[in-house]
Every structure is written in structure tokens, then in C-alpha cells.
């Protein structure tokens, strides 16, 4: 990169008087970063930002996707506030987030600490935990649905072998959400483990040596050295996991389809249903905007908190 720029600068020098050439070179240097981010900006604008603006526009319309949009004003938003199913889907999403985020982070941290030691085959074990994340969520969802299948699934077969009864994992409203949460743990733990593993490896060994000299036990080393130094990673994971939980769709779509009843209908599930089953693209967009605002607020709070904690460190 440097060589190329030098060459260009020399070329400029030959053609222009000295100070103008220098100014041109400075301008160029300022321009170069924009050239590098341009493809990303163009793609982001086309496929994320413009659709986002368009979704906001559509949320004020009645649109079946295959016909022409009709102006509705704020009707979709007043309907949303009064729609018990929207609130139920939001509640389901919150319960799902609360049951999967702390647990998947805690298990991820435990695994990371276990695999941070010299163990035989640790690369293999790390890969095994990470694997569900790189496989398509539809495939993991299908496998999870088979495992939880109450008639021929492996989990119920194991329960029967142990002399226990079958459980209607995916067709009992009380069990469906826990089953989804367990399947989510299987997928998400690997990601949390890898991030924590990287963070653990960046903690200098001298802190532990100093702690040992001061006579700190294993537990107090974790409490006073490891955990505080992992704070930036913890904040990052918290934001990413919460956003992921609010956007969960594929796993639910494959495993339960939002049922039984509405017990596993998440916000994105309801958005999809409104958009493609009942052809209410305007209402679906209004819910999309609401979800956008929720995630935005949460991200802002977390971001502030993480910056404060970083400056406190």
C-alpha cells in the first residue's frame, strides 16, 4: 500500500508544482480510507439502511406485498399497542432471552476455563463445541427437533430406558420453551466459549503469579483477577447474545413453528407470520420498527455501561 502511494505521489510531483503536489498527496491520504470502506457502505446502504427506511415507510401502510400499498396513518402502531399477541410474543422473547443469555454465557465461561488448560485433544473438544454455530440453524433446529421428538426422539428413548415416562417436549406449552432454550444453549455456548477463551488468553500471567504470592485461593483469583479482567468480553457477549435472542427465528420456525398455541411465538415469528401468512406487510413492518427501537435502546444502555466500566478499569 505504501509503495503504491509513494509511486502516485512521485507521479504527482512530476506534473504539479511542489506545494500543490503535497496538498494533493495529503488529500489522497484522506480519501484512501473512504475508498476502502466504500464497498461496505454501498452494500450496507443498499441491503440494510434503505430497507430499514422503507420498512418505516411501509409501517404506515396497508400492504399485502403483491398489491399496492394504501396509506393507513398510525393505525398499525395503535393496533400494535392493543394487540395482546404482540405483547405475548414480546414476553416470550424476554423469557427466552432471560433463560438463554446468562446460562449460555456461564457455561461458555466454564468451558473456556476448562479448555484453557493443557488438555489432550483440547483443539478437538473446542471444535466440537463450536461446530453447531457454523452449521446452518435450520440443520441444527432439525436435529434438535428429532432429539426432542416425543415419539421417536433420543431424549425420550433415554428417559424410557431409565424407567421414566415420555415428556411431550414440543407439544406441551409448558415444555416447549425450555426445549427451545436447551437447543439454543447447544448452539450458543460454543460462541461464548471462543470469545471467553480469547479473552482469558490475553490476561497476563503475572497477575496470577502476584495473586498466588499474596496467598489468593483459586476462587478468589477468579473473583478478583479473572472475572474483572473479562468484563469487556462479558459486555460484548451480553449485547450480542441479547440481540441474538431478540432476533431468534430459524430455530423456532423449525422446532415448534411458534406453537403449541402461542407458547413459543417470538416477536420475529409474529412478524414473519404477519408478513407472509396473513399478508399484512404494513403491520409486520410496524412490529419490525418496534423491535428495532427495543434493540436500539438496549444497545445504547449496554454501550454506555461498558464504556463506563472500561474507563473505571
Amino acid at each position: 500500500m505504501g509503495g503504491l502511494m509513494d509511486g502516485d505521489a512521485n507521479h504527482g510531483k512530476a506534473a504539479l508544482p511542489g506545494h500543490r503536489a503535497r496538498r494533493w498527496a495529503v488529500q489522497r491520504q484522506k480519501l484512501i480510507p473512504y475508498v476502502f470502506i466504500a464497498p461496505n457502505i454501498v452494500l450496507f446502504t443498499t441491503f440494510s439502511f434503505l430497507p430499514l427506511i422503507y420498512a418505516f415507510y411501509i409501517s404506515f401502510h396497508d400492504w399485502s406485498l403483491i398489491g399496492d400499498p394504501e396509506w393507513l396513518g398510525i393505525h398499525n402502531y395503535t393496533r400494535l399497542v392493543r394487540d395482546p399477541l404482540f405483547w405475548q410474543s414480546l414476553r416470550n422473547t424476554l423469557v427466552y432471552a432471560l433463560s438463554t443469555v446468562p446460562t449460555s454465557m456461564a457455561i461458555g465461561l466454564l468451558l473456556a476455563m476448562a479448555l484453557n488448560r493443557r488438555l489432550p485433544g483440547r483443539t478437538f473438544i473446542r471444535s466440537v463445541y463450536f461446530l453447531p454455530l457454523v452449521v446452518s440453524a435450520v440443520a441444527t433446529g432439525t436435529i434438535a427437533a428429532w432429539m426432542f421428538n416425543e415419539n421417536y426422539g433420543v431424549i425420550n428413548a433415554a428417559l424410557v430406558q431409565l424407567g421414566l415416562g415420555r415428556i411431550s417436549w414440543l407439544s406441551n406449552p409448558a415444555w416447549a420453551l425450555p426445549s427451545l432454550a436447551v437447543a439454543t444453549l447447544w448452539v450458543r455456548v460454543g460462541f461464548n466459549m471462543v470469545v471467553y477463551l480469547a479473552a482469558l488468553q490475553s490476561i497476563p500471567a503475572v497477575y496470577y503469579e502476584a495473586a498466588k504470592i499474596d496467598g489468593a485461593s483459586g476462587l478468589s483469583q477468579f473473583r478478583h483477577v479473572t472475572f474483572p479482567l473479562l468484563a469487556p468480553a462479558t459486555f460484548l457477549l451480553l449485547i450480542l447474545n441479547v440481540i441474538h435472542s431478540f432476533q431468534v427465528f430459524d430455530l423456532v420456525y423449525v422446532m415448534t413453528g411458534g406453537g403449541p398455541g402461542f407458547s413459543t411465538t417470538m416477536v420475529v415469528q409474529y412478524i414473519f407470520k404477519s408478513a407472509f401468512v396473513t399478508s399484512e406487510m404494513g403491520y409486520a413492518s410496524a412490529m419490525g420498527v418496534a423491535l428495532y427501537l427495543i434493540i436500539l435502546v438496549f444497545t445504547a444502555i449496554q454501550w454506555r455501561a461498558s464504556r463506563q466500566s472500561e474507563s473505571a478499569l
Binding site: N149, E150, L170, S171, M255, F262, S279
Partner: protein
């Protein structure tokens, strides 16, 4: 492609009709320069193979036309894709569509009115019920391609064990009471569950039970909701009792991702209410048991489900004339004959309806489906082909699932459906 070993008179007659149809339309739609048309479908392996055979045949007649077929996993995914592409004005030229969905596309002018491409004489060969189902405000917006319906599959070995002989003619079909008694007997004899119903997320398949009990979703003029009637509430309660009594697996409710045909194939249930298109799957996978097909149970009336699909030409097609010609080609007597025989469906042309078709698999079972298809109520057809029916279907799906899985009582279920159906009718 499946061929009869010795062509019958009927087959020869329809080959003649096909040739005449092709001669009359072939010139009209011949492309001047190479044309490529996109076609979106869904379907099982047997259907895909039958479509490919028809495409290859069209190519030999019109070498300058290429049909590119895109296959989706199921109808729902295909609609999602077609709708999104319609919004982007890039819809496929031709797409497969259920009778229930034609009105939705036609009312939004998303598909082409086929009137100018249809030959009146040829139109007369289609059974009126299907022609009307593919029409909107009296004009054809899709070409009927085939139909299918539901009947009752049973595990022959289990039936021998409990000493039950299934009905051999439509008029002897079991009553609701007899049917549930047999389900209980199967369970008592060791089957984990008596039976399962293959909803596949389409609660409109519940409507035949409602008609069997003398009810209907909408009033006779289709203008009012009729779902809070005594018959409707009783039908909800009856179907709910299957779950309450443990006669069906809890995982076979409307929204479940369970594939009930797996449960029938592996002996978890002794009977399965499902469509004729499950025959290829069961012939291949139900290896431990023998199976047969009998008629749907009935109450005060007989009724079964309106299934099947048509083909429509999208408004985005740049060559609707050629697309319409191909759609007509798919539904011509010879190709309809070949498709339904190979993929186990029922024809929608009068000239094929009385004909013994050379079904590739289990012609004995197909005879039951053919007889059962005569019991599809015409009011049911009018109801499910309304342009807004998909919204009513969503209400049925949600509320019946709550009744079957979450203990919502029958009256509350009927009232919740009623509220949503009224809202749809009010628009």
C-alpha cells in the same frame, strides 16, 4: 414417464384431443427468438420428475422455448418466494398455486387473466367445480392441473389383530362413533395411539369435519360467519376430544412440525387421515407393516378436503402468451393423464375422470381417493377459494391449535375464530 402397456380406447381418444389442442394453440404461441421462462413449484420427488418430463416434452415441440423450474420445499415457502418477487416486479413467469390461493393473487392483479388464451371447447372439458375454483369474478386466472383429497390409511396388520374389517364402499364408511371406537380398540391392542390427522399447518383441513357434522364456516351466501353455531362448537369439541382422550399423539396438532406419516409408517398410530400424495412415501418407507386405504369417517354427511393445484401466469411475465401456452400444455388431456398417474393425483378433466388411470403405485388405494373426492362439498369449495381465505385459515390454525394443545374450550375457540372471521369479512 409412466406408460400403459396396452393403450386403451380412452387413452387413444384423449391423445387425439391433446393433439388437436396442441395444433390449435401451437402456432399462436410459437416464439420467434429463443425464450426462457421461469417456473416456481413445490412438490415431492415424483411430482418433480413428472414436471421435468412435461418440460422436456414441450422443448421437443418448441425447441426455442426453455422452461427453468425452481423447486421449493413446500407451498408456504413457494408463496413466500413468489410474493417477494412480485413485490420486486421480478416474479417467475409461471407458478404453481393451490385453489385456495388463486383468489388472493387474482384480486391483487398479480396474475394474468387467461380468458384470451383459453379455448371455449377445451374449457368445457374441465369439471366446473375446479374451473370455478381457479376463477375470480368469472374469469380464469389459473389453469386447473389436478386435485387430491383426504382418505383414511390403516395398518392392515393391526386391523387383523383387532378383527376389524374396514368399509369397502363409500356408503358403508364409518360414523364418527364407530371410528373413535376402532381408535380405542387399536390403543387397547397395544398401538401407542389410535390415529393421527395430517394437518400440515393447514387448518382448512378441519372444515370437512365441520361439514360432516352439518355445519359450515360461513353462511350460505358467504357473507356471515357461522362458526359459533351448535354444530361448529360440537365439531371443535369432537376434534379436541381426540387429544383429550389420548387417541392421537399430542405432537400432531395443527402447528406442530411433526410429520404424521412417519408415525403411521413406524406403527405409532394405527390409522392416518392424509392425502393421496403420501402413497409414494408409504410404499417406500412403511416396510414393517401392510397398509390399506378406506373412506373418511362421516357423521350426518360425508365430506373430504379440497386439495390440488393449478398453474398461473404472473403479471411480471414478459411473454404471457408463451407462459399461458405452457400452462395449457401442462393441463392438456395427455399431460394431465401422465402427471396424475405418475405422481398419484386425481384429474380435473371430465374426459379423464371416468377413466381407469394407470397409477404407478397402489391403484387399489387410488380408487378410494377417487370415490372420496366426490364428497367434497361445493360450499366448502366456495369458502376456501375466497380471496381473503388465507386470513381465516390463519385464525383457524391459531385457535384450533390452542384448543388441541392448551385446553382452550370449544366455545371460546369458536368465539375467537368468529371474531377474526368477522374482521376479515368486514374489509
Amino acid at each position: 414417464m409412466i406408460k400403459t402397456p396396452t393403450p386403451t380406447i380412452a387413452r387413444r381418444t384423449l391423445l387425439g384431443t391433446a393433439a388437436a389442442t396442441m395444433l390449435s394453440t401451437g402456432r399462436l404461441a410459437r416464439a420467434q427468438s429463443p425464450v426462457t421462462l421461469n417456473m416456481t413449484v413445490w412438490g415431492a420427488a415424483a411430482e418433480e420428475a413428472a414436471f421435468n418430463a412435461a418440460i422436456a416434452k414441450y422443448k421437443t415441440l418448441h425447441p426455442d422455448v426453455t422452461i427453468r423450474m425452481e423447486v421449493n420445499g413446500n407451498a408456504m415457502q413457494a408463496y413466500q418466494q413468489v410474493d417477494t418477487r412480485l413485490a420486486g416486479r421480478q416474479a417467475p413467469d409461471i407458478f404453481r398455486v393451490q385453489y385456495q390461493q388463486v383468489g388472493r393473487y387474482a384480486s391483487a392483479r398479480a396474475v394474468v387473466d387467461l380468458t384470451q388464451y383459453v379455448d371455449v371447447k377445451d374449457e368445457a372439458d374441465f369439471a366446473p367445480a375446479f374451473w370455478q375454483a381457479a376463477s375470480y369474478k368469472g374469469k380464469p386466472y389459473a389453469m386447473p392441473h389436478h386435485t387430491d383429497t383426504f382418505a383414511l390409511y390403516y395398518n392392515r396388520d393391526m386391523f387383523e389383530k383387532i378383527g376389524v374389517v374396514p368399509p369397502t364402499s363409500l356408503d358403508k364408511s364409518w360414523t364418527w362413533v364407530e371410528f373413535l371406537d376402532i381408535a380405542r380398540k387399536l390403543k387397547a391392542a397395544g398401538a401407542p395411539y389410535g390415529f393421527a390427522m395430517s394437518w400440515q399447518n393447514a387448518a382448512f383441513r378441519w372444515l370437512p369435519f365441520l361439514y360432516q357434522h352439518g355445519g359450515q364456516l360461513l353462511s350460505t351466501d358467504l357473507a356471515q360467519s357461522n362458526i359459533t353455531s351448535k354444530q361448529a362448537v360440537e365439531t371443535i369439541a369432537w376434534t379436541q376430544s381426540w387429544f383429550r382422550e389420548g387417541l392421537v399423539p399430542p405432537s400432531t396438532s395443527v402447528k406442530s412440525s411433526e410429520q404424521p406419516q412417519n408415525l403411521f409408517a413406524n406403527g405409532t398410530v394405527g390409522m392416518l387421515m392424509a392425502g393421496d400424495w403420501q402413497i409414494p412415501f408409504l410404499s417406500k418407507n412403511m416396510t414393517k407393516y401392510n397398509w390399506g386405504v378406506t373412506y373418511m369417517p362421516r357423521d350426518v354427511a360425508m365430506a373430504s378436503d379440497l386439495g390440488g393445484n393449478c398453474f398461473a401466469v404472473s403479471r411480471d411475465s414478459k411473454r404471457p402468451d408463451i407462459a399461458a401456452d405452457f400452462v395449457k400444455f401442462l393441463s392438456n388431456p395427455e399431460n394431465m393423464h401422465d402427471f396424475v398417474s405418475a405422481a398419484q393425483f386425481l384429474p380435473v378433466r371430465k374426459s379423464l375422470m371416468g377413466v381407469k388411470l394407470p397409477y404407478a403405485l397402489r391403484p387399489d388405494a387410488m380408487e378410494v381417493f377417487v370415490a372420496q373426492s366426490a364428497t367434497i362439498p361445493s360450499h366448502l369449495v366456495s369458502t376456501v377459494t375466497l380471496p381473503n381465505f388465507s386470513k381465516m385459515n390463519a385464525a383457524l390454525t391459531d385457535q384450533l391449535d390452542l384448543a388441541f394443545t392448551s385446553g382452550q374450550d370449544a366455545t371460546a375457540t369458536a368465539q375467537a375464530i368468529d371474531q377474526q372471521v368477522r374482521a376479515v369479512l368486514a374489509v
